[in-house]
Structures are given as structure tokens and as C-alpha cells.
């Protein structure tokens, strides 16, 4: 399809936004360095970059959360002063955040109406409903408006977020990694529909992403940020994925795939038999999960966030009680308590390790000692701890795993995300590992850390550990796993060796079909 409306954007349609020499410093750190990007009316523009490259800073400057130290913003070709998000909204610029900004206990209709600037003191629901129905007629997607938002699926919430911005007359949409909570199918549907709206000149889109597939499929133009500066960009059609990756990471060595040793035909180690568990609100989150993991095998559990994966990992970590079912390790019943973790050599790397696997205010050395502090040589008689062995072991592991910390006595919360992850890995992987449970291990990490951590996981597999990898990043699962399982609505909906399946099949099962 061509884009005839771009040149002559109608008054009520898409609007253009450009930044000119945008610079933002936080203290001595330059988060954004002289960045000029141009998103014409009706464009679908993608902002690529690693974590910390300045993408969020740039869009927050556009939205008025931050005031740039230098540079200016043009909206529709005119200089615009955006002092706060409300100014941005008045100009028709709206943003869909990674976390949802809908009010969970309000219905979709209530959420839409209350978000308007001119809500009447008494709401005439019949009239509002008629207007909403007329509005929905014009919209490309349907969302049930009469149910509390809390009961909607993630994809529906994401659609409602976008509908809300359009309802508020948004003419320039900023999307911050909008597809991280969606199935590939849902993501394609939403992005396709938005692309259609840009082509009809109803909307301009600026999307933050790190998924090359989305960029090549939906975007017309791209800008790549690296360390706060514009590294390159242009028409997507003129660029290759490799070229874009190189712009993103610069001269850093692109990671190699973890080498996979042949380990087929080993015995089952971890056996999950009919696991059932409830979430905090008492709803069934894990609904009869049966899964076997053999020695020297990585089983990757894929799925859209919120389909019970988090609860399953919490069960295996002993953070959530089982309602039904048993866990067996080498045919012996396993209870997720400290004694059994030690006896069966079960280790884990939960998601958000600072929250789930560390005590933020305790020191790096103490956090590294969690598995061993009450055993010799750190402890005498099981209760008398000596700091010497704890510190020397921590010093050794910090050096071996390359944990960057100011001191062994620094609270672990002062470390960066990647270094917390490394410290926890050091603690969990330094001994003999029989079973390893890993959840979203690379979430929010930079390229170098990602390669290293995936390498460590692959190492454990090659040494004969049974690895259960839960990840929302399908690429990660396809790279690491020997076998893929898809979790949907608390059940294992699909299982296949990684060589016998593909992205679309997995995506279909993620969506629950």
C-alpha cells in the first residue's frame, strides 16, 4: 500500500514531530547528546537502541516529563513548548507506557470517560455509551468496555491503552515496547492496524523496540541510538538487520551462540507431576502442569506474561504453596525447602533477582553466602559464623564471575542489574548443579551480560544439569532450549523439540489456540 495522505495531512489527522539537537544531562552524565530525529505526519518510525541508550530519555523529553538542557521540539513544523505531559496531550501527542496506566477496578468505559479532560460532574451514561459506540465504530479493534479492566487479558489491556489515546484525539502515538506483553499474533495484529492508520494519514507512530522483526515488518523509518547519541538511521527498506544491530551495539563483539554439547538420551531428573497452585487473589494460576526435564537438557517454557509462568517458578522456589501435585527429582519426592534444595542440588535464578533472590540491604558478601553460610567452613556447630571464610569465598566468586562492585561490603542493591544477576549466578552456579530453574535471566541487561549469562546457563546444561528456563523472550528460548513447552492459562499447552517447531506454531499455542 502506498501512503498518499502523508504529504497532505488533514487538520484532524496525523501530526509531525521533530527533535532538533536534543540534549539532556543528569549531573555529569549525558543521557542524550544532540539528538535530532524527524517523524513526518503519517510515519511509522522506530527508535532502536540498547538499554540505557537514551530512548526513554528522548521520548520523555518529547512528552514533557523531562526538560531538555538544549535543543528544541517541533510539532507540526512549529516550535512547541511542552512543559508537562498535559501540554503534550493538548498537542495530540500521547504515549503508551510499558506498564499499564488503566485503573484496574474501573470498567473500560469508565477508564475512557474519566481520562477525558472535560468530564461532566454527573456522567450521563446513556449518552456516553452512545458516543463510545460511535467512537468504537471508527476504531480498528474491539475491546469489551463493560468489564473491569482487571479481568481483561494483557492484549486487550494494551488495545484499550491505545484506544484511550485515540479517544483523547491522539494524533501522534509514542509506544514504549508495546509488544512485550503480547503474543506474536496479537502484536502483529495491533501493529498492523496501527500501520494501516498511519498509511491513511490518521496517525503518526514513534515506537521504541528492540525486536528487529517488528522493525522490518512494520516500520518505514528507523533511528538508532547508542550511548545517548544518534548512531544512524534511515528507511528500513534500505537497511539490513545486521547493519541495525551493528549501529546499536557499536564495536562490541556480537555474541556467539552458546556451543551445545551432545547430551541426548539421559534420564529424567526433574519431574513436575500435576502441579496446581493459586495466585494471590486465590485464582488458579498453575492448573495441572506436567513436565519432565532430563539431565543435560534445557526445557524452555514460553508464554505470554501472566499465564502462570511466574507462579510456577515461585512454586519451584518455595515462594508459593502447592495446592495439588508433586515434584520429583530422580524419582524421589522433592519439597521446595532449604534441606531439599541442598540434598538434590537444586539451584535457581528467579526473575527480578534483587527482589526474589537477594536481600537488597545486605552486603554483596552476605548475599553470596546465602547457600553456604550455615555450613563449614563459614559456620561452626551450625550457628557460629565466621566472617573470614564468607568474605574470602565472596572475593573469589566476585573475581571469577566478574561482578563489578565498589566493595564486598556494599549493599547488593547498589549494584547494577547485570551485576546483581552475576552475583546471584555466582552463588547458584559455583557448586555442582543437578537442577537449575531460571526465569527471564536476561531481562533488562545489555548485550555483553546477556551473552555471558546465556553462556553460563548453556555450560550447566553441557555439564549435565537439568535446566528449566522460563522466559518471555521467545528468541532466548529458541536460542537456548532443547525442547520448547508453551504455557497458556496455567497449563502446558504444547511441547516439541526445538528443531521440530517454529515461531508461528509456538505463537499460536501462546495465544491459546
Amino acid at each position: 500500500m502506498s501512503a498518499p495522505a502523508i504529504a497532505a495531512a488533514p487538520h484532524a489527522g496525523a501530526v509531525s514531530v521533530s527533535t532538533v539537537g536534543m540534549t539532556k544531562r543528569f549531573g555529569g552524565f549525558t543521557a542524550l547528546d544532540d539528538v535530532s530525529i524527524d517523524v513526518p505526519a503519517g510515519a511509522f518510525h522506530v527508535l532502536l537502541g540498547e538499554n540505557g541508550a537514551g530512548k526513554s530519555t528522548l521520548v520523555k523529553c518529547i512528552m514533557g516529563f523531562y526538560q531538555p538542557d538544549a535543543g528544541s521540539l517541533l510539532v507540526g513544523g512549529e516550535p512547541a513548548a511542552v512543559r508537562n505531559p498535559r501540554d503534550a496531550r493538548a498537542l495530540g501527542i500521547g504515549m503508551v507506557y510499558q506498564h499499564f496506566t488503566l485503573v484496574p477496578s474501573l470498567t473500560g468505559a469508565e477508564n475512557l470517560v474519566i481520562s477525558r479532560a472535560d468530564v461532566p460532574a454527573v456522567i450521563h451514561w446513556r449518552r456516553e455509551r452512545e458516543r463510545l459506540a460511535a467512537f468504537m465504530e471508527r476504531m480498528p479493534f474491539r475491546v469489551p468496555l463493560d468489564r473491569p479492566v482487571a479481568s481483561l487479558a494483557a492484549g486487550e489491556k494494551q488495545k484499550l491503552e491505545i484506544l484511550k489515546l485515540l479517544y483523547l484525539d491522539g494524533r501522534f502515538l509514542i509506544l514504549d515496547e508495546p509488544t512485550s506483553v503480547l503474543t506474536p499474533g496479537e502484536a502483529d495484529e495491533i501493529l498492523g492496524l496501527l500501520r494501516g492508520m498511519t498509511e491513511r494519514g490518521e496517525l503518526s507512530v514513534l515506537m521504541i523496540s528492540h525486536k528487529f522483526r517488528e522493525v522490518t515488518t512494520f516500520a518505514e523509518t528507523v533511528s538508532v541510538l547508542r550511548r545517548g547519541a544518534l548512531a544512524g538511521g534511515g528507511r528500513v527498506a534500505d537497511m539490513t538487520t545486521d547493519g541495525m544491530a551493528r549501529l546499536m551495539i557499536g564495536d562490541t563483539v556480537v555474541r556467539e551462540r552458546g556451543s551445545r554439547a551432545e547430551t541426548a538420551g539421559k534420564a529424567t531428573v526433574l519431574d513436575l507431576a500435576g502441579l496446581v497452585a493459586d495466585d494471590d487473589a486465590g485464582r488458579t494460576a498453575v492448573d495441572g502442569v506436567n513436565l519432565k526435564v532430563r539431565a543435560g537438557e534445557i526445557v524452555g517454557i514460553a508464554g505470554v506474561s501472566g499465564n502462570g509462568q511466574a507462579a510456577l517458578v515461585e512454586v519451584l522456589n518455595g515462594q508459593r504453596p502447592l495446592r495439588d501435585g508433586r515434584i520429583f527429582i530422580r524419582d524421589e519426592p522433592f519439597e521446595p525447602v532449604r534441606r531439599d534444595f541442598d540434598r538434590f542440588r537444586v539451584f535457581g535464578l528467579p526473575e527480578e533477582p534483587l527482589k526474589n533472590a537477594a536481600v537488597p540491604r545486605m552486603s554483596v558478601a552476605e548475599n553470596i553466602a546465602f547457600r553456604a553460610f550455615d555450613k563449614p567452613p563459614a559456620a561452626k556447630f551450625g550457628w557460629w559464623l565466621s566472617r573470614g571464610p564468607i568474605r574470602s569465598r565472596a572475593a573469589d566468586l566476585v573475581a571469577r564471575y566478574g561482578v563489578k562492585t565498589a566493595s564486598l561490603d556494599a549493599p547488593i542493591a547498589t549494584l547494577s542489574g547485570g551485576n546483581v544477576q552475576r552475583a546471584v549466578l555466582a552463588r547458584e552456579l559455583s557448586g555442582d548443579v543437578d537442577v537449575l530453574v531460571v526465569a527471564n535471566p536476561c531481562f533488562g541487561l545489555d548485550f555483553a551480560s546477556v551473552a555471558e549469562i546465556r553462556g553460563q546457563i548453556m555450560d550447566q546444561r553441557n555439564r549435565g544439569a537439568a535446566v528449566l528456563l522460563v522466559s518471555e523472550d521467545l528468541d532466548e528460548i529458541l536460542e537456548l532450549a532443547d525442547r520448547v513447552a508453551v504455557m497458556s492459562e496455567g497449563r502446558i499447552a504444547y511441547q516439541a523439540p526445538v528443531g521440530e517447531t517454529d515461531r508461528m506454531t509456538i505463537g499460536r499455542h501462546m495465544a491459546g489456540h
Partner: protein, 305 residues
């Protein structure tokens, strides 16, 4: 025997209406505050201070309705104080509530000493059943107009939470402060106003205690009803309509002891008087593990986060 039963039931009906009225007001006030995302445990203090100031004002002015207004305004003052203190960074609403509970009762006891003896004018009551000629029933159904005001307030609140901008703004603030801020809603201001308005209702409830039933001012007047009303809000799952039902239930339990006494059952009088407290305990145990209560709770409450 059946005559006795009829008397007990009639007395309990009348008692339920009388005893429940302050519960209705305090529970509605607490519902409004909690819907905005804060817990005000200080309503016990508000209740006592409202009772004392209401009584004193009615005595000084001769108008019981001026007393009701004074009780409400005392509640506004304490509620606004709670709201403002909790708007400071890193201030815990539960701790402030307990402090204000002590402050409210302390102020009331201090300034209320001279008003224990004198007799203030009572609120009038509406005779609903005088026409029946049945003395006990007529006595039971002399209903204070505040009871009807309470029910009307509950209906109005339930309607407003769905159908007005203010109602939706309060619910938004209570469920997701982040979403509210993103919409440009001044979260702290909404909470201060909701807590002050909730305090008004609790203060009115207090004035009922001293100006209608039991109908005098003394230091043992409230005996923890303000705290029970907070438990009642959880039981009612933050619904104003259910608050009325729950308050009537508490009222009936509270009326059990006096009703039995009126037919000559004096054994275990204090045990029966403890019925509302036992009920509170059972409700807390029941609802703290209730999945429904967890789902209905406003997302910003410090107990549910």
C-alpha cells in the same frame, strides 16, 4: 415464651436501628476514605470527639441539629489533619490514624468533663409505629431522622461512585495512584478531601451517640465502635449499600444484651453485650482470608499492597 420472643425480636429491631446508625455513618466515612486509597483508623477518635462537641454545642445553643453540625465539623478537622499528615513523604497512614484516635479521645475527655452532668436537648425521632397502638413496637420504631439520612447517604455514595466525575476520580486515586497522576489528578489533594469528608460522616455518627442513643455524654460512650466500623468496611467489601446491611447486623448484635435483659434474662448479660465484639472478631477472621475481599479492595490501600 412466644410473647417473650416477640418482645426480644421487637427490641432487637429497634435496637438494631438505633445502634446501627453511628456504625452506618462511620463505615460510610471509612469507605469513602479507603476508596481514595488511605485507611483512617482515627475514626474512633473522631466519633468520640464528635459526640462530645455535638453534645456541648447542643447544650450551649439549645439546638441538637447545631450539635450534629459541630460533630461533623470536628470530624472534618481531624480528617483533614490525617489527610495532610499522610501527604508528607514516608508517613504511614495507619500510624497516623492510631495517633489521631488517641488525640481525638484525649481532646474529648479533656474538654468534655464539664458536660457529663448537664442535660442537652435530644434529637427528635420519627414515630413510625405509634398508629399500631402496640406500645413495644411504637417504642422500638421511634426512629431518629439521622438513620434515614445515613441510608440516603449510602445510596447517594453508591450512585456517585459510578455516575459522577468525583466518584470516578476517588476510585481512580484509590486503585492506582500512578494512573491518577498520569491523568493529572492531584492524588494527595483528592485523598485529603476524601479523608476530611469521611471524617465529617464519622463526626455526625458521633453526635448521634450523645444526642440520640444512648443520648448523653460520658467517656465510655463509644467503646470501640469506631474501630468496629473499620472492620465492617472490609466485611462490606467497600460497598456503601453493603455497609448499611453490615451496620444493621452489628446493631442487632449490639441490641441482643439489652433486649434479653428487658424480658428478664440477666444471666450472662455482659456476655451478650460482648456480641458485637465477638462478631467483629469472627468477621475479621473470615474476611481476612476471603478472596472476594482481596479482589474488591482498592489497590492503593497499604494493607493490600
Amino acid at each position: 415464651m412466644s410473647a417473650h420472643l416477640a418482645i426480644v425480636l421487637t427490641a432487637m429491631l429497634g435496637g438494631a436501628i438505633r445502634v446501627s446508625t453511628p456504625f452506618i455513618f462511620v463505615a460510610l466515612g471509612e469507605t469513602l476514605t479507603e476508596k481514595s486509597g488511605r485507611i483512617n483508623l482515627g475514626l474512633e477518635g473522631t466519633l468520640v470527639l464528635g459526640a462530645m462537641l455535638g453534645y456541648a454545642t447542643a447544650y450551649e445553643t439549645g439546638s441538637p441539629w447545631a450539635g450534629v453540625l459541630a460533630g461533623g465539623l470536628a470530624g472534618v478537622a481531624l480528617g483533614a489533619l490525617h489527610g495532610l499528615l499522610c501527604s508528607l513523604p514516608r508517613v504511614n497512614d495507619i500510624a497516623v490514624g492510631i495517633a489521631l484516635m488517641t488525640l481525638g479521645t484525649g481532646l474529648a475527655f479533656f474538654f468534655g468533663k464539664p458536660f457529663i452532668q448537664p442535660e442537652a436537648p435530644h434529637l427528635p425521632s420519627v414515630p413510625l409505629a405509634d398508629w399500631t397502638g402496640d406500645h413495644a413496637l411504637a417504642e422500638a420504631l421511634r426512629v431518629n431522622p439521622l438513620f434515614f439520612v445515613g441510608i440516603a447517604t449510602a445510596l447517594a455514595m453508591a450512585w456517585a461512585f459510578r455516575n459522577t466525575r468525583v466518584g470516578l476520580v476517588v476510585r481512580t486515586t484509590g486503585d492506582s495512584a500512578a494512573a491518577a497522576l498520569a491523568m493529572g489528578i492531584p492524588v494527595d489533594r483528592v485523598r485529603v478531601l476524601a479523608t476530611a469528608a469521611g471524617g465529617f460522616l464519622a463526626g455526625v455518627g458521633g453526635s448521634f451517640l450523645s444526642l440520640s442513643y444512648p443520648g448523653s455524654w460520658n467517656e465510655g460512650l463509644s467503646s470501640g465502635q469506631g474501630l468496629m466500623a473499620v472492620a465492617l468496611v472490609i466485611f462490606a467489601r467497600w460497598s456503601p449499600i453493603r455497609c448499611v446491611g453490615a451496620a444493621l447486623l452489628f446493631g442487632a448484635a449490639g441490641a441482643l444484651g439489652p433486649a434479653l435483659q428487658s424480658v428478664g434474662v440477666t444471666q450472662g448479660y455482659y456476655l451478650f453485650n460482648a456480641a458485637p465484639y465477638v462478631l467483629t472478631l469472627l468477621i475479621m477472621v473470615g474476611s481476612s482470608s476471603s478472596v472476594d475481599a482481596h479482589r474488591a479492595a482498592p489497590g492503593e490501600l497499604s494493607i493490600t499492597r
